[in-house]
Symmetry: C2
């Protein structure tokens, strides 16, 4: 049973475990620092599919199938799937999951989707109403570029503040049946914030206030601080957004620099890979969670971790209409289950 | 606490109540048979906004504000908002809800969003972790037409199987604090089904199999049949989808004709309003729920109701790529709380 703590945080009293998880990437991810940690890296960004959108659906399904296989599970053993992606009408997920025959809750949280889906999956398992729920999301550089920016063939120049959409997916099965290592201890859903940023090539700046707000609120609700956690991972703030996050929290007297890492800065080597301000996309925090963070919680290299995916909730249409970029950050407190707590 | 019944249904043991609700429409809705039941009907489809997308955000927010006001609530009394819409990246909801300062779970379920959001809101309240949650969604004829079909100015011809996107919104507050009249007794989330329909102008046909599947599963899970309910409302199958639903269920030996109504057929007068196969859009089942169904549950004209919103999960891109239309239907069993129910 979940208990509300403070104004926004939910403590999941059963601490539902993450039974299995998988991360899939493509060529760019295979050239990055985390390559060895992915379950699968497909050098063909088309994944053998005729279109980029179908490639993304294939990628997400592949990742889900891997997560299930690693847990020795069939789809029939899932009670619910929580998934979403960046594409218009979330077709990456709808077409990826359509053959699963598992009840499906479609989400749209932009790049916050991995934390959003994990939060809901863990909540349902914690409630006792579901035994096993899947959280999944994906993004694809090629489908995202042509949808949000320019057709690939156009070869548009990208400003230094732009980020590179990860071609990748992450999937995790939350289960009441496994020993709680790693487990979901607490969750803190985010509110929509808008600081008036209008530059669609500077998502990190647009999302940093949401990350700062959720983190600040979580610390208040739980009476903890950054020192209580081995690491605080934000989703895809990139270089600019990460600096802003530290500055915004600094103004509140909170210093997280000694604990903070950003998935968008971990997944690529900015010196060598021409990704400008870092990685982004739903698949960024999703694949880093499943390739890099969860394995460390499982083997005890990390014990208490805050995982915050951040999402920019604009569309190309709202941007062309002169709107600023609303953003959101959902937080999941993950624990190795070794220390007994928070 | 929720209890899983059969393969997919969740019984919400606390039967969380719907404290307040509101429905907002525009000109076309004001000319339809349900006009008197709406809380607000704005003759200006632009709602005073410069763009159709901004009009939709305004409309959704207006509806949410009304639902809160009718319940004597402030946004601060909400624990969570569950919302989504049809627009790319769900900007109707993100921009509509951005000023609320309430934790936000963004959904994409196409026209199934009202049942999806209500299902989640009720589940969170039932769990005891949330006291009050809001479920909301909207659609707008003008923003949907230009996004899914043609710019309005083009004046494209619509085939007889096409449906008319409702310019409307619905919002409902689920609360643990009110007497359970009406209340959410059970929910049954849907799976994604795809019967191979590719005609983007025949959504009713694409969605009927999903509605049939969810309804069939719910009856199996609960050991009930259509005679156990005063009415079974589908979301926006329209004329063609409704006929197909009856046919598909008939093959399974289930006759719902004497109980079935479709929100897409209720909201407009097909003889007089030139809407072809009926109404559609997230706002269709949402506004009919809040204008027509919930008031009848409150005053006892209806006691046990099944509410199924249906969603077509394609996008214009997937359609142009030759893909068929996956669809989904989520079910919410609403009760007046008077009979003691099941």
């Amino acid at each position: 049973m979940a208990t509300k703590i403070g104004s926004r945080t939910l403590r999941l009293d059963s601490r539902p475990g993450i039974l299995s998880f998988a991360a899939v990437g493509s060529k760019k991810e295979s050239e990055g620092p985390l390559a060895q940690e992915f379950d699968q890296l497909c050098p063909d960004a088309a994944f053998g599919q005729p279109t980029w959108e179908q490639a993304e659906s294939y990628l997400q399904r592949e990742c889900v199938d891997l997560a299930l296989a690693k847990g020795g599970l069939s789809p029939q053993e899932l009670d619910l799937i929580f998934a979403g992606d960046l594409l218009n009408q979330c077709i990456g997920s709808a077409y990826g999951m359509r053959g699963m025959a598992v009840p499906y809750i479609g989400l749209y949280g932009a790049c916050s989707t991995m934390a959003e889906s994990l939060l809901l999956a863990a909540f349902f398992v914690d409630s006792g109403a579901a035994r096993q729920c899947l959280a999944a999301t994906s993004s694809h550089f090629c489908s995202a570029e042509r949808q949000f920016r320019f057709p690939l063939d156009y070869g548009g120049q990208r400003p230094p503040s732009a980020q590179w959409t990860v071609t990748g997916a992450g999937a995790a099965v939350v289960s009441s049946l496994c020993p709680p290592q790693p487990c979901v201890a607490q969750v803190c859903p985010g509110v929509i914030l808008d600081y008036g940023i209008k530059d669609i090539n500077n998502m990190g700046a647009a999302m940093a206030p949401a990350a700062a707000d959720t983190l600040h609120r979580f610390f208040e609700d739980t009476g903890t601080g950054p020192e209580g956690y081995d690491a605080i991972f934000t989703g895809d703030l990139g270089q600019i957004g990460s600096e802003l996050l530290l500055e915004l929290l600094g103004r509140e007297g909170i210093d997280i620099a000694f604990r903070h890492q950003d998935c968008g800065l971990l997944i690529y080597d900015r010196e060598k890979q021409d990704v400008h301000a870092g990685g982004s996309g739903c698949g960024c925090s999703a694949s880093v969670l499943c390739a890099h963070i969860l394995p460390r919680l499982r083997d005890g290299r990390l014990n208490e971790v805050l995982f915050l995916s951040t999402g920019a909730l604009m569309s190309p249409t709202s941007n062309l209409q002169g709107e600023s970029i609303p953003s959101i950050a959902h937080l999941v407190h993950l624990s190795s289950g070794r220390k007994g707590g928070d």
